[in-house]
């Protein structure tokens, strides 16, 4: 016989073991490594804070971090503007095709990330679809699309937006669209009704969508590597470099710790938007 406490622990085992093995242990190890140093591609347990000193004193690294923050903000805002109408349309008018339509928005996920990024290269690049077509009509190619931050921005938005659509859509599934009519009958114009009712009542979904887009974009390296060109490197590229070519794992770990800290801070700031659950229409049974 096992007692109720043991039962609860047994139930918690899969989740807990997952967290320990895949989140806690790697996190602890990079925190530890970040206070070591690397010599000839080998980690040496020589405790110091030199990695952080370099990270915060050399303006290069912080510049890349700011770049990534700007990129992640731009990608998140673009996704937000684009995903809301898509999710709203599918949730409200999708009818019995709702599930199919929402799966279609995630269809690109059926291919690998590299494949999707190279596919974008085929469209945006110098010999890509857009610029080839322009050239065919004797027009100048759009330079902004070729190996630039704009190309990265487009690529990252394309990669991560489905998460935003999905998060908002799931939130809208629990939204009573009749409330929009109530607002209209009671004197609200269409946009006013949206911002009085639909927006606040789906704030939780919107915030989750923002986190799901912002965080991966902040640490991304592949997209900018393929689409960003020589001047398009982001924080993630520099970080990946430490674990690759230069083999400075200890410094890379320090960069990783900083990235984690910034991600956590952004998540907490975004979560403040739904601080008061009642204001987000989330009702918790009392007692």
């Amino acid at each position: 016989m096992i007692g109720p406490v043991a039962k609860t622990l047994l139930l918690a085992l899969p989740g807990l073991s997952f967290l320990v093995v895949f989140l806690f242990m790697p996190l602890v190890s990079i925190v530890i490594f970040s206070f070591w140093r690397t010599e000839s591609y080998e980690l040496i347990a020589d405790w110091n804070i030199d990695n952080y000193a370099t990270l915060f004193s050399d303006v290069t690294y912080l510049t890349f971090l700011v770049r990534s923050l700007v990129m992640a903000t731009a990608v998140t805002l673009t996704s937000l503007l684009y995903a809301w109408p898509v999710a709203y349309l599918i949730a409200k008018h999708g009818g019995r095709y709702r599930l199919v339509l929402i799966l279609l928005t995630a269809a690109p996920f059926l291919t690998g990330e590299i494949l999707r990024v190279t596919a974008l290269q085929q469209i945006l690049g110098p010999i890509g679809l857009i610029n080839m077509a322009l050239g065919h009509f004797g027009l100048a190619p759009i330079r902004a699309l070729m190996y630039s931050n704009v190309a990265s921005w487009i690529g990252l938005t394309y990669l991560w937006m489905p998460f935003m659509v999905l998060a908002i859509y799931l939130s809208l599934l629990n939204f009573d669209f009749q409330l929009m009519e109530v607002a209209k009958v009671n004197g609200a114009r269409v946009w006013r009704a949206f911002f009085e009712v639909a927006w606040p009542l789906n704030m939780a979904g919107t915030v989750i969508g923002c986190v799901l887009v912002f965080i991966p974009t902040l640490g991304s390296s592949l997209t900018s590597q393929f689409l960003g060109g020589p001047n398009g490197a982001l924080y993630g590229n520099i970080l990946a470099h430490q674990f690759g070519a230069t083999g400075t794992w200890a410094f890379g770990s320090a960069m990783g710790v900083l990235l984690f800290a910034v991600s956590l801070a952004v998540t907490l700031v975004l979560a403040r938007a739904v601080r008061d659950f009642r204001r987000a229409g989330i009702t918790i049974k009392e007692g």
Binding site: E181, K184, V185, N186, P200, G281, T283
Partner: protein, 378 residues
Amino acid sequence: MVALRLERVTKRFGRVTAVEGVDLEIGDEFFALLGPSGSGKTTVLRMIAGLEAPNQGRVLIDGADVTPLAPYRRRIGMVFQDFLLFPHRTVAENILFPLRMQGVGAAEQRQHLDWITQLVRLIGVEDRYPHQLSGGQKQRVALARGLVSRPKLLLLDEPLANLDRELRREMEIEIRRFQLALGIPFIYVTHNQEEALTMSDRMAVMRAGRVEQIGDKLDVYHHPKTRFVAAFVGANNSVAGTVTALADRLATIDWHGHAVQARAHAGLAVGAQAVCYVKSEKIAVEAVADTDTRTQTQTQTDTGRAAAAAITGTLRDSIFKGHYADYLIDIGEGREITVSGPPRSDLFSHDRPVVLSWAAADADAFPADPEPAASREA
């Protein structure tokens, strides 16, 4: 004065015609739109609110054509079936929503809030959220939100459907009181005839997108003009038979050897099939003395000594409801008739022979076939 006028309003959804050529004139009164589900009554209400645009016809409020106007420009209050309070707003914020949309100043909002919370008796819960309220309180908040801006008219879409019986009774009287206090038209959609009869001044009965009958509620109740209304409004019993005579607006129908008399409506002809409807409370029931037999009663009836219609039967059950009772009477041929009346001690023993009678003017006869009757009909 006509506050609201609908002129030949028609609404189609794809190939389905939800509302067809409805004309209505409503003054400063309590008006009920009664009909079974799918009769188009809610669509009529939504067209008045501007939530649906009619395919044909016009909607006029205070003489002005509002057909093309968006809902927010119509200044109408509306109360919905599921209350539909904003879950993320407090009671006060919910109630003040229409005023805030109109850009009314804070001081004036406060005045309106005080006035309306007093009227609907909703004091002390202003800072709560909807999920913290009881069903009755939610309903009062919904009513307060609909009335706070003193709209030109208030639309109510089955507002009591989700309340329990006790609360419904209480709210029926309350809502009626609000209408009298404010003096604006209340248009009340319901499938519940008891609500319509309790609250309204006038009512319209709808079926399949059309208005079947419109008029004073007592008139609709006592003098149905169509077979549907006769079957739908009130607790009705029906007997079908062949018309044997038509005279002086009275029809005589032969029901298995009994001559049943009723007011004749258009379309009846001697020799044709007819259905006669009579409301439960208009039937008199008399116990036949134990020594009597059914044959004797039958003979008495045939001599014409009894009322305009008389049928013999057997009391199957008496359902005591407090201030009245329902008597279920088997009249043979597989038909059962329900009679409502004051509780009587002589009618509580089962399987008693009884005789039923009603005045010819209390029954209505319609042609049997031209239209399918309401599901209520036995």
